[in-house]
């Protein structure tokens, strides 16, 4: 079971409240789809600059593997406060600990509501439906 202290998107991002701010990241499933379990297949992660306004459902960055590029989509709207630049040089963090050390951006949300996002149980079902 994946952590139930946060919400998930259909496109495999997570969002977690942290005081007045929210953290975004991507799930273990997203990482595995990109890297097939091989850290070295991840080549680049493009994250936004602090200060940028993000819109729920719109792309805030990109992650690249050897074979593919995936958009990172904002689970909620808000302003970027802080970026985990450590990831850019250490993409293996995403496979080792996507839930904590692998956070990508800290956002000041425009609303506290996480309505419409998936809880852990619903996300679990969503992932099961995507298994080939």
């Amino acid at each position: 079971m994946r952590p139930d202290d946060r919400k998930y998107t259909q496109t495999h991002e997570w969002v977690k409240a942290d005081g007045d701010t929210m953290l975004f990241g991507i799930t273990d499933f997203a990482v595995k789809e990109l890297s097939n379990g091989n850290d070295s297949d991840l080549v680049y992660c493009d994250l936004p600059e602090p200060g940028r306004a993000l819109v729920a459902g719109e792309t805030f960055g990109e992650i690249e593997s050897v074979k593919a590029v995936s958009d990172l989509n904002a689970p909620v709207s808000g302003e970027v406060l802080e970026v985990n630049t450590h990831i850019e040089e250490h993409l293996e963090v995403l496979s080792k600990d996507p839930w904590n050390a692998g956070w990508m951006v800290r956002v000041k949300p425009t609303t506290k509501s996480l309505e419409g996002l998936l809880d852990a149980a619903a996300y679990e079902k969503h992932v099961a439906s995507q298994k080939h």
Partner: protein, 365 residues
């Protein structure tokens, strides 16, 4: 989705399988870059069962193929192989292929994604010629053994054929794992020395496993299509849908060696249009290297200042060059090696430089 005779073996080896050209194929067994390095330093075994394999026989085989192919098929020596294309009347490629010249027949190897289109197109143009077009794809297996250890490893399983006598882009027949009259060609899509072997489906799994076993001590590993794409890009070899397609002609792609304008070849489909392109090309396919963190990808624009001067066809991190590489079309005048350009990543720029293709080749110096 179609499956090759080796499908179950790939699953057992833990491969990640994807759809490719209508087939369920292994894209990787392990890390893609490690697989590419394995082929460059030792050897790798590929399942190419998805490639289209077509035997053309009949009295008019050569005349027919010289009508539909860009290369001069009747001039290919028996036992030799040439690169060719099928082009439409407007000179745009339908596919590219290898042509194996036999005494009274010709064997063609085409791309998986285009096999159906190729067959329909050949049959359409076969009217008036006495030829038989036999699609053998679904009843045969095709394996490629690539890398410097290939000859040593394969010879352990081959009798009635001294592999050292088969030159580059030549083929012969030998007994492979006890299977007589098996087609073996010294060809590949990696820039390495190596062989491609053609078998009945029933023998595919047995021969695949025997080769892996025979080469285990030499560091031979199974390699997926992901690494194959990197290796062919490093070797400057075109892939249909990237460097050539309905909007990218073979002249500007630098594939002149596969196109014959010799009058003796006679009139062929696409000749007039390609002669016009040859007289006044507008752009050229070149390589680019980029030391920045991002990998150039198909469709991205190449910029010089605010001016768009080219477009990326294929890109990959290159384990051999230790930098990001790509193939791209640039307008003439900016195609000289060393020319500094930028790749546009949705508005963000990354510096790159023009290089001559291939980036790497052990077979083409």
């Amino acid at each position: 989705m179609k499956q090759t005779s080796l499908h179950d073996l790939h699953e057992r080896l833990g491969a990640k399988l994807i759809e490719f050209g209508g087939w369920h194929m292994p894209v990787q067994y392990g890390p893609i870059l490690d697989e590419a390095k394995c082929v460059r330093s030792r050897a790798g075994l590929f399942d190419l069962g998805h490639m289209g394999r077509v035997h053309v026989t009949g009295r008019d085989t050569l005349a027919f193929l010289d009508r539909v192919c860009t290369n001069y098929v009747a001039k290919i020596p028996v036992g030799a192989i040439r690169y060719s294309l099928f082009c439409r009347a407007d000179g745009m490629p339908i596919d590219d292929l290898l042509v194996y010249r036999e005494p009274d027949s010709v064997y063609l190897v085409v791309n998986a994604s285009n096999t159906e289109v190729d067959l329909a197109w050949m049959r359409e143009h076969a009217r008036g010629f006495e030829v038989k077009i036999d699609d053998q794809t679904e009843r045969t297996a095709m394996l490629a053994l690539q890398g410097q250890r290939s000859q040593v490893v394969l010879q352990r399983l081959v009798e009635q054929c001294d592999l050292s006598t088969i030159g580059y882009y030549k083929f012969g027949f030998g007994t492979v794992c006890g299977l007589p009259n098996t087609r073996i060609s010294r060809t590949g899509y990696t820039g390495e020395d190596g062989f491609e072997v053609y078998l009945p489906n029933a023998d595919g799994p047995r021969v695949w496993s025997a080769i892996l076993e025979a080469g285990a001590g030499d560091g031979l590993q199974p390699i997926g299509l992901g690494a194959r794409d990197i290796l062919r890009l490093e070797a400057g070899m075109p892939l249909y849908g990237h460097e050539i397609d309905a909007t990218h002609n073979p002249i500007e792609a630098g594939l002149d060696f596969g196109i014959s304008f010799k009058p003796e070849k006679g009139e062929w489909i696409g000749r007039a249009a390609l002669a016009v392109v040859k007289a006044s090309p507008k752009r050229r396919l070149i390589g680019i290297t980029s030391d920045g963190p991002r990998v150039p990808r198909q469709g991205q624009k190449l910029m010089q200042g605010e001016r768009e001067v080219g477009e990326v066809c294929s890109g990959a991190p290159s384990p051999t060059l230790s930098t990001n590489i790509a193939s791209a079309y640039v307008e003439l005048g900016l195609d000289r090696p060393g020319t500094a350009l930028e790749v546009d990543f949705k508005g963000k720029r990354q510096a790159c430089a023009v290089r001559e293709l291939p980036f790497f080749s052990r077979t083409r110096k």
